[in-house]
Amino acid sequence: MIDASDLLRFREELPFYVNGTSGAESKAFMSECLNKQPDLQAEVEFTQALRSSVKLVGANRREDEGLDRLLQAIEAQQAKTFTYRWKRFLESCSDWGLSPAFAAMAFIAVVQSVILWQSHITGDTLTNAAQYRSMSETVSAADMKLTINPDIGFGNLVVLLRQVGAHIVYGPSESGELWIALDDHSQLKTIAKQLRETPGIIDVIEVGQP
């Protein structure tokens, strides 16, 4: 029989004796204990059974079990990154037989287009106003052509046109002609007569489309 302190040492070193990592001195000690007290062999076998049980944890799993789920998760994450999108873009270009240089140029063109588009849709008030002023407008049909005396002031002309309910639809031409449309076409004859009698208006001719 071995004494209590040796028994404690035997039991403390047993896990490493069983897993095969004990040093030479420890192995000799364990063998000596087993020779002196053979019933300790039951503890060795119990510990070997424990080790075998632990090694079976997860043994029924396939080596690629859960791999599909992992790859899908990685794919989903990569799809969010710029690098991945750039790589996919290059791969797409390659699939279409385009060179990387062409792909890069195409990419730069796309980026520039986006920048220009962004500036277009997010312009400040002045830019928007300028864009509005430069917009083309459908020319409505003119009712009459006026020949204007060059001496009449622009302000007087504006007041006159507003008084008769008219607006400029074309002109002025090089010879000082303006084509105007009336808000109320039924008053064409009356307004034409009124304008002929107005100083500063040299001539009034009733017309169709300018």
């Binding site: 490493f16 424990l50 090694k55 944890v57 791999l67 992992l70 990685i74 990569q78």
Partner: protein, 194 residues
């Protein structure tokens, strides 16, 4: 578990950096089962263990550059470190975590024989022993993994836990005695039924 050779591992990690999903697949195939076994010793629930393994490899795919290929640490140990952190996060969140009380089997009988294992078929014994291991406190379960699954040297186990050799030996001593007690109780119960 055999580690992947460093040049091969280095190649895989470089390929992961270049976005090659096949490389992470190779690493996964090599390490996922032992990693599952490790996590299973920490969380005693298969579905949680699977989720932790999944999250761990997802982290590897994102932060592979943090592993020092020229350092002393083994890749499997690095993986286990990531997994353990995830278990700790899960424990702190208090969600989906099952653990036995620390007081279970803290008082155990020494009356049972050591040859209890002879009463069972091998596959029965493995299942019963695993059930008994699940009832151990976590530090004893984890020590059981490093010593019996990974066949680690006692000095390395102590280093892994950042504790003394004596503490590790005591944990293993208590773990083995509690498992024997657990088996003994089941055996007594079974004998009484007969």
């Amino acid at each position: 578990m055999v580690e992947l050779p460093i040049p091969q591992l280095s190649t895989y990690l470089n390929e992961i950096a270049q976005g090659n999903p096949q490389a992470i697949g190779q690493i996964y195939r090599h390490y996922q089962i032992p990693l599952f076994a490790y996590v299973r010793h920490l969380v005693i629930d298969d579905s949680i263990a699977k989720d932790i393994v999944h999250e761990t490899f997802l982290t590897v795919s994102q932060k592979h550059q943090r592993f020092d290929i020229d350092g002393n640490a083994k890749f499997s140990t690095w993986l286990c470190g990531i997994a353990k952190n995830k278990v700790r996060t899960l424990q702190r969140s208090g969600r989906r975590f099952i653990d036995v009380g620390e007081d279970f089997l803290t008082e155990y009988s020494t009356d049972h024989s050591w040859d209890l294992s002879r009463n069972y078929e091998d596959h029965e014994l493995s299942e019963i022993m695993q059930g008994c291991i699940d009832k151990l406190p976590e530090p004893q379960r984890e020590a059981t993994y490093w010593v019996y699954y990974k066949d680690m040297l006692q000095e390395d186990v102590a280093k892994q836990f950042a504790t003394s050799l004596g503490t590790i030996k005591t944990r293993l001593l208590h773990a083995r005695a509690k498992i024997r007690d657990c088996l003994g109780r089941l055996d007594s119960s079974w004998s009484n039924k007969r």
